[in-house]
């Protein structure tokens, strides 16, 4: 299980290779990656992601450990960036490895739902109009009730 919180970019292909290297007991790998999406008006200059350094990695590790205990997983990993990111850049990724696909999918969705609402990150969007904090969505909080 690996959790990384970093300012710099990551190479999702290299991460997947490393994550699965040498394993012949996992049939299913699911990844999610989140990208900086432009505003509807197309005027996003950049996104700024703030986090709570002392809490971030422990909070994610707790979520990942919960995923590993709830599903038949071989492994899970999470990378989340902070700082300034341009439109189209990768914000974060999760990967899950399991013998069977249902476990890999469910665990990846669980990780994403919890990361969205329980890991201490805050996104700010900077456009031509100014800067605005992204508001949490009710549907993200509601998504937690399914687990």
């Amino acid at each position: 299980m690996e959790v990384r919180v970093q300012a710099g970019p990551f190479d999702i292909g290299a991460e997947i290779s490393r994550f699965t290297e040498g394993r012949t007991d996992m049939g299913a790998i699911v990844t999610f990656s989140g990208l900086v999406r432009d505003s509807a008006a197309g005027d996003l200059r950049h996104m700024e992601i703030e986090h709570y350094p002392a809490m971030t990695a422990p909070a994610i590790e707790k979520i990942a450990a919960e995923a590993v205990s709830r599903w038949s997983l071989g492994d899970a990993m999470v990378i989340h960036r902070h700082g300034r990111l341009a439109p189209g850049e990768q914000i974060m990724m999760v990967a899950t490895a399991a013998p069977h696909r249902a476990d890999a999918f469910a665990a990846a969705e669980f990780l994403m739902d919890y990361l969205k609402s329980r890991a201490p990150f805050w996104k700010k969007e900077v456009t031509a109009e100014g800067a605005a904090w992204v508001a949490a969505k009710d549907e993200d909080e509601a998504a937690l009730t399914r687990w």
Binding site: E50, P58, M112, K116, R118, P120, W122, K124, A136
Partner: protein, 83 residues
């Protein structure tokens, strides 16, 4: 007791600083919020709607009625928007 208080996102912006150390006898997070709110308008502005805030004590998410006995760090922030 001496407590480190951290602020994130728009809470940080409203209060105007990322962290501070306070001397307090507050028994719970709510008591601490009441103390801070009484200090200055910028705290009142940050804490006016607690339903829009989250709190962590010693890096663990908790509720506003959580006790502060033994705590070293309290953080206030809006709902998270990671992922």
């Amino acid at each position: 007791m001496s407590l480190d208080i951290l602020y994130f996102a728009w809470v940080r912006e409203r209060i105007g600083l990322p962290r501070e150390t306070v001397q307090t006898q507050a028994a719970t997070v709510s008591d601490l919020v009441a103390e801070l709110t009484a200090r200055e308008a910028r705290y009142e502005a940050a804490f006016q709607d607690l339903s829009a805030l989250r709190v962590a004590v010693d890096q663990e998410l908790t509720e506003f009625d959580a006790p502060l006995a033994g705590a070293r760090e309290v953080a206030f922030f809006p709902p998270m928007t990671g992922g």
